[in-house]
């Protein structure tokens, strides 16, 4: 294995981490605040990707596609939250898992009906390569890494420096006490759900130039996304970032060493971490179950 391969694998791993982070930060927040497992986030990831593909195909403008993807998923998510989640927020987490998986399956069916089964390619909006220590790496991958870092900083700022973010952090600790103060917790739920949805759609949109857009792309990424959330610790943004970085590198270097290792190694790491720290790397010890 030479230095060029290592640098390429490292940058690829970081860009995959960026996509994992964007996709899982919302999942983690949804569980942390609302105690729901929102499997429909994987549908929003796919819709973000398909809308980007469609708008790029029509207008040739990737950024317009990305925006359309986010806006479309926000509309779908508003509907899903009103019809599905508002009825089950108080119920066991199993309800949300089953229902959101149903939403996901229905959505994938609709995607197949609308866009068909054949894979769709999307051209990267940023061409060219960057030279990193003598190794040429695609500029678009660097963009994905920077975008994910920017989103991390923005989410941290929102949660730590704004009153709504503080309320969400308090709700992750104890939602009932937030309500007892006089704050409408359901508005916070909606806000968090829409934030999660937007980030899932963003993940889907920016992933399109790196993969083929297929109806099951959301289903294909579920296992890795859950590993990221569990390794990082439910409800923790910092944990989600660290575990995204870990899983991204493990998948990238794993596939470089021995292809099946890319699928196996993250599971092995997850099992080891859970044995040592059952709440995940940064799972809050204050979070009530």
């Amino acid at each position: 294995m030479n230095a060029h391969l290592i640098i390429s694998a490292f940058v690829l791993g970081l860009s995959m981490s960026g996509v994992y982070f964007l996709l899982t930060v919302g999942l983690s927040l949804c569980y942390g605040l609302m105690r729901i497992i929102s499997l429909d986030q994987f549908l929003y990831y796919s819709v973000g990707a398909y809308m980007t593909y469609t708008i790029v195909a029509v207008t040739g403008n990737f950024w317009l596609g990305l925006l359309a993807g986010i806006l479309t998923t926000i509309l779908i998510a508003l509907f899903v939250e009103k019809i599905v989640y508002k009825r089950i927020y108080e119920k066991s987490v199993m309800f949300s898992m089953i229902l959101s998986f149903g939403v996901n399956l229905m959505g994938v069916g609709l995607i197949k009906y609308i866009w068909g089964l054949e894979p769709k390619p999307v051209k990267a909006p940023i061409g060219g390569n960057l030279n990193i220590f003598g190794t040429e790496v695609p500029g678009y991958r660097i963009f994905v890494i920077l975008l994910a870092a920017l989103v991390y900083l923005a989410v941290c700022y929102f949660l730590n420096k704004t009153i709504l973010g503080t309320a969400i952090r308090a709700g992750i600790d104890d939602a009932e006490k937030v309500e007892a103060l006089g704050i409408n917790i359901y508005k916070l739920f909606t806000l968090t759900f829409l934030l999660a949805t937007s980030l899932s759609a963003l993940a889907g949109a920016i992933h399109t130039p790196m993969v083929m857009v297929v109806p099951d792309m959301g289903m294909n990424i579920i296992a890795f996304a859950f590993m990221v959330v569990i390794i990082g610790g439910l409800g923790s943004i910092k944990g989600t970032l660290i575990s995204s970085l870990l899983v991204g590198q493990v998948v990238s270097f794993g596939s470089l060493i021995w292809a099946p290792l890319a699928d196996m190694a993250p599971f092995m790491i997850m099992i080891i971490i859970l044995l040592i720290k059952p709440t995940g790397l940064y799972g809050s010890k204050y979070m009530k179950r």
Binding site: A170, D174, E176, E179, L181, G182, S284
Partner: protein, 231 residues
């Protein structure tokens, strides 16, 4: 101004957890600036009663009139916004948030950003503003919970087991605090610490197995805690 100065009137309140009925036809009333205690053994239904009044638990039937308005069926945040605040018995503030952030949340909810009254009752909180909830003692947490609740000038404070797990010196301070707080709000405390209840309450309701079995108004009986015969 509500009729007869009654700020809270609970009539025929019933509640159940699933099939298991917990409180039966509870009737109580509280006047403006009054200090009322609800006493009873563990499992008597005292906490359930407070949570139903605050909207945190859904009552199966009955009526709760607060400040002349029916509040049964209202969401807990609406009840709190109207000025009826519930303080939990678990002494748990938001552990990952600082004292300042805990107070900011309450200010955001009520629109009351003047913390002078909070620091007047609990000057220690001013020193602890940047300390996280997780690193506060039981007494400091109780101060913060009450401090958060009095923002927005509530008319009724429902305080569940305020002395549980607190050192005797802090319990003594709470007696004075509750007397001071009642100048602005009516207070309902739920408690098993009868010596504390006797020093705070002007009127006492005794609860047994989910039923209100006595109302004690006699000052001597309250002072001597002879109402313990009902428990």
């Amino acid at each position: 101004m509500p009729k007869n100065n009654t700020i809270l009137e609970v009539t025929n309140l019933n509640a159940a957890y699933g099939q298991s009925k917990v409180i039966f036809d509870i009737n109580l009333n509280v006047k403006l600036n009054e200090r009322v205690a609800i006493v009873g053994r563990n499992g008597a239904g005292k906490t359930t009663m407070l949570k139903c009044i605050a909207g945190l638990l859904k009552a199966s039937s009955g009526s709760v009139i607060y400040d002349g308005m029916e509040i049964m069926g209202k969401a807990p945040f609406e009840v709190a916004k109207m000025g009826l605040k519930y303080i939990d018995q678990d002494k748990e503030v938001f552990l990952d948030l600082t004292v300042r952030e805990n107070l900011q949340l309450s200010s955001y909810a009520t629109g009351d950003y003047n913390w002078d009254r909070v620091f007047e009752h609990f000057p220690k909180l001013k020193i602890l503003l940047d300390r996280k909830g997780a690193y506060l003692s039981g007494g400091e947490r109780q101060m913060l919970m009450i401090g958060r609740a009095i923002l927005g000038d509530p008319k009724v404070l429902l305080i569940d087991e305020p002395t549980e797990g607190l050192a005797p010196s802090i319990v003594n301070d709470l007696v004075t605090t509750f007397h001071d707080l009642s100048k602005d709000s009516a207070i309902i405390i739920v408690g098993q610490n009868l010596s504390f209840v006797s020093r705070v309450a002007q009127r006492i309701y005794a609860v047994k197995e989910g039923r209100m079995i006595a109302e004690i108004r006699d000052k001597e009986e309250i002072k001597e805690a002879t109402y313990s015969r009902y428990l």
